[in-house]
Symmetry: C2
Subunit: 268 residues, 2 copies
DNA sequence: TTTGTAGTTCCAAATAATGAAACTGAGTTT
DNA sequence: AAACTCAGTTTCATTATTTGGAACTACAAA
């Protein structure tokens, strides 16, 4: 992808290891990368040494390392969005009784940053950190619709347009039209475009200056409800999104921030 | 710390940004680093460009980037421990009704990888990814006790020995003695060594070859229970630790692993 | 023993990182 | 308005690091 020097290459290697959804051997990585043997080898050494990768000597495999978990923790708690949004998600989840998501845009994909699940208790990293397509999800479209022109063009052109269901929008033109509608209306819907039976409404989170920070959504299933029922939540979701946006903006210069991390650790 | 070339330096910068528990300006970073202006500047550029950092143009501040969250998700799901341990933690939490932790050792600190909270619902990243001291926590001591000699020496010498409470072990000698006991007995206790009123028992997770993978703990408070009551859980915790160890080992070559990630996404 | 496969090390050539110094530009003081 | 800060950005000759073909090792299978 990008190639800013040594650091860029190292990041590529990290992504590659992460892309295998399992512990991976040197040879496999070598095959799927353009790096020469020795070069890749040294990268793996260095990254392992740094804790960015972890190496299992028994099985001779690499996986993404624990240091990433540490750093991601910092990313989450320092983010200008997730910690602020947390209590709002709690409330929205309680009120609606449905699944609630907080997402941000990361290289034109949807990255789920937090979640409240209707049924089960929250599931740690196996939820947050997950990525999904932008062109066929509520949060994805809500976010793209509020990008500035240049960024929107880039985003639209970088979608895969894979047809997940009959209703998936599979062309730039169709997506653009929907985004236009979303922008004027202020919220996005996903009408089984990603998964059959799954519908959702989503609102963007914006600063007063109009910068798009992320999106929140409420998801339902066609088995339990129809679209009209789901759409009754739109005003509420929009208000919550506005509140989050306002609070996020308010932390202009936190100086001392009431750290989302300060909750008693009590862990031993 | 370590300095393997450009990559090591880049990782240092990431850590530095993460260490400020808030969005941080260029000048602040410059002050707290040894890098010359231009060098640091270029690192920040590149890392931001790569999504490892995120830059807020409004406030001119850097924070750890979203790409880290994505990568950490992969680290968690691909880890040979966390996904396997999950159902066991659920069970242990249900049975004991107490707070349960899964931890791994990361540069001789305790890194909490998963958690079940007695009272409240789970708290996302603000829990997993957190780090703590090893010399005065149950999981920390349980893990150190089962390191090989060289690694143990290193670990013991790298603790800070800050006195958190009256009961904190504050010397290498005292810690070594406790670790010796722990090793022979098979479990560790934390008797208010980290926080007053907080007690805990912890068992290491080992492969059959004796490699230490992590530890689990059950935590209680002196207000609700005494040590004897808590220690009745030791056999159970030990058994769970053994089971996790066995399963972790069993995934020698998963080929297709029943991915902890396969839970229906249903997110839009 | 030979052959093959997977991983590791070497070192001269190619490339990228370095950092002092100069520059910019928005805001402030004289 | 000119001079001055201060925070951030760019330049470029020098320096240090990365690079990768090829040679090597270790082990397993034929």
């Amino acid at each position: 992808m990008a190639g800013d020097g040594t650091i860029g290459k190292a990041c590529d290697v990290l992504d590659q290891v992460a892309a295998f959804a399992r512990p991976v051997r040197f040879a496999e990585l070598l095959e799927s990368s353009n790096f020469p043997k020795a070069t890749l080898y040294r990268f793996l050494q260095t990254l392992t040494n740094q804790g960015m990768l972890s190496y299992d000597p028994d099985r001779q495999t690499y996986t993404p390392g624990l240091r990433l978990v540490r750093l991601a923790h910092a990313a989450w708690t320092q983010s200008s969005l997730a910690p602020i949004a947390r209590p709002f998600l709690d409330a929205l989840s309680r009120e609606t009784g449905e699944t609630v998501h907080l997402a941000q845009l990361d290289s034109n994909q949807v990255l789920y940053v937090d979640k409240r699940n209707a049924a089960q208790p929250i599931e740690m990293y196996s939820q947050a950190g997950k990525v999904g397509p932008a062109y066929c999800t509520g949060v994805g479209k809500a976010m793209m619709a509020f990008l500035d022109e240049a960024a929107l063009d880039r985003a639209v052109s970088q979608q895969s347009y894979h047809r997940f269901t009959d209703k998936t929008l599979t062309s730039e033109a169709a997506l653009r039209a929907d985004l236009h509608l979303i922008r004027s209306r202020g919220y996005a819907v996903d009408d089984e475009e990603h998964e059959p039976g799954i519908i959702c409404i989503a609102c963007p989170i914006l600063t007063s200056g109009g910068r798009m920070l992320g999106a929140i959504s409420v998801t339902g299933s066609t088995e339990r409800m129809n679209f009209d029922q789901l759409e009754t939540w739109v005003p509420r979701v929009r208000r919550v999104a506005e509140q989050i946006g306002a609070e996020a903006q308010a932390w202009r210069f936190p100086e001392t921030r009431p750290s989302a991390d300060t909750d008693r650790m009590q862990a031993t």
